[in-house]
């Protein structure tokens, strides 16, 4: 294949930036354009629900690169302009202001949009948390209000609850699952996390659906649950997951199925690639299509996309990694932690507040989780890479 003379990256968050940086690292000298819907230069999202929300960091600290480093990339940055249409055959993107950008290769890196509750009113006090502006607005409300309800029992909801609790707010967390992060970590470890939140004073309402937000027409006043309970609230954080930001692609002809469907090279069509939260690609190691919503994937996939753009023909088949910080606990997961997997704690113990656990599925180790046990977790990752036989787990100890 010939190397494209120009590349347009649509989405200026971590995945988009990673593609641009990796292209230059590969020695790519063609024209690069980075188009972002937000007005901010590329920034990091994981700190939003933690350091930025708590006020430990000024918002500007989330910037991924300073101006000098961005200038070195010799890329044209267009910020505050949303892509609204992709012409696949013409390799062109139209923006909301009517600008038409063309390039020989286009990378879709538009990420996610937060889900909202059905009929969610635009009342004051109701927040989603995806962007830097969202985090700043939520922080302002958390400073002013004392009663907080978090709707959502996933990573973001749990982190927002922990941060709000750390600010001294009265926090109730509501979610439909049996325990916190049940689908991400399984019921056992999710149960430990729920206990941690309860010890910290968070009220949990799990296994129950939200019926509606209650408000006075201007401000939210509470959250009504399906079992009839009314939780009073001055601030409501809606963290019920996200969906891939692909509305602008519905008339593009690209295959969309909970994300932009790509081959094992992260290619959606000739000259069109996708990266990060928005991409559903074929993982050759697993033999299945996969979409990951995490920071590490965006960067690693960005490097894979860049390699494929310059003709290296490299399948993308990572061992996923994600982490979450809640209170004084750092949880890290390498690989997969399916909810129905077997779990074996091989280092430390939950009572000691430090442990590492292996996850087994299909007779093999598929994941490792560390709870305040960083170095051992990193060592145990090798068992995920090698797919160690589950029958050997009893004799395992981190080296």
């Amino acid at each position: 294949m010939t190397i494209p003379a120009s590349v347009l990256v649509v989405g200026a968050s971590v995945g988009g930036l990673a593609v641009v940086e990796a292209l230059r690292r590969e020695g790519y000298t063609g024209a690069l354009t980075l188009l972002g819907a937000e007005r901010h230069p590329p920034y990091d999202r994981p700190p939003l629900s933690k350091k930025v929300l708590s006020g430990a960091w000024e918002p500007d600290r989330t910037r991924l690169r300073q101006d000098a480093a961005l200038a070195q990339l010799a890329a044209t940055m267009i910020l505050g302009e949303q892509a609204v249409h992709l012409d696949v055959l013409g390799r062109a993107v139209t923006t909301a202001s009517g600008r038409r950008l063309t390039a020989e290769a286009i990378v879709i890196a538009t990420g996610l949009e937060p889900r909202r509750l059905p009929g969610q009113e635009p009342w004051a006090g109701v927040h989603v948390l995806r962007t830097l502006d969202d985090a700043v607005a939520l922080r302002a409300d958390l400073l002013a209000g004392s009663q907080v309800v978090v709707v959502g029992d996933g990573v973001l909801g749990a982190e927002a609850a922990a941060t709000a609790r750390g600010m001294g707010r009265a926090v109730t967390l509501v979610g439909p699952q049996s325990t916190l992060l049940a689908s991400q970590l399984g019921p056992q470890i999710g149960g430990y996390l729920a206990e941690l939140h309860q010890r910290q004073g968070v009220q949990l309402r799990l296994g129950v659906a939200v019926e509606a937000l209650v408000g006075d027409g201007e401000r939210v006043r509470g959250v009504r649950l399906a079992d009839g309970e009314l939780l009073p609230a001055e601030v409501v954080v809606v963290a019920i997951g996200s969906r891939p930001a692909t509305d602008w692609l519905t008339d593009s002809g690209l295959r969309l199925a909970d994300g932009v469907v790509c081959d094992s090279r992260c290619r959606a069509a000739e000259g069109i690639y996708a990266v990060g939260d928005v991409a559903r690609w074929h993982h050759e190691g697993l033999g299945t299509a996969l979409r990951l919503e995490n920071r590490s994937n965006a960067v690693e996939q960005g490097a894979a996309v860049a390699a494929n753009i310059v003709g290296k023909d490299r399948p993308y088949a990572p061992v996923p990694f994600f982490w979450t910080d809640q209170y004084e606990v750092k949880i890290q997961v390498h690989g997969w932690a399916p909810a129905d997997a077997q779990v074996a704690i091989v280092e430390g113990s939950p009572e000691a507040g430090q442990f590492a656990a292996l996850y087994g599925s299909g007779g093999k180790v598929v994941g490792v989780l560390g709870w305040n046990m960083v170095k051992q977790t990193r060592s145990l990752r090798q068992h995920v890479v090698e797919r160690t036989d589950w029958s050997l787990v009893k004799s395992l100890r981190a080296s």
């Binding site: 991924l64 920071r295 960067v299 490097a303 990694f321 750092k330 890290q332 960083v374």
Partner: protein, 65 residues
């Protein structure tokens, strides 16, 4: 090349240690330990990749230094 690490941004993923174990290590709490502030040229490619994939954006490089 000069390597600069921001301990406050470090999230303890250990990706840098996996990529360049002669340049990076981790404390018991996972925070990065910089073993070699001026790594030899043979390691530059690995260090650049480590800086790029760092999930906390905690590794900065001064290429001229």
């Amino acid at each position: 090349m000069r390597v600069i690490v921001d301990l406050e941004k470090c999230c303890g993923a250990g990706q840098c240690v996996l990529l360049a174990p002669k340049v990076f290590d981790q404390r018991d709490d996972g925070i990065v330990i910089l073993l070699d502030e001026h790594p030899p040229e043979a390691l530059h490619k690995a260090v650049r990749e480590a800086a790029c994939v760092c999930p906390g954006a905690a590794i900065k490089l001064e290429e001229q230094a």
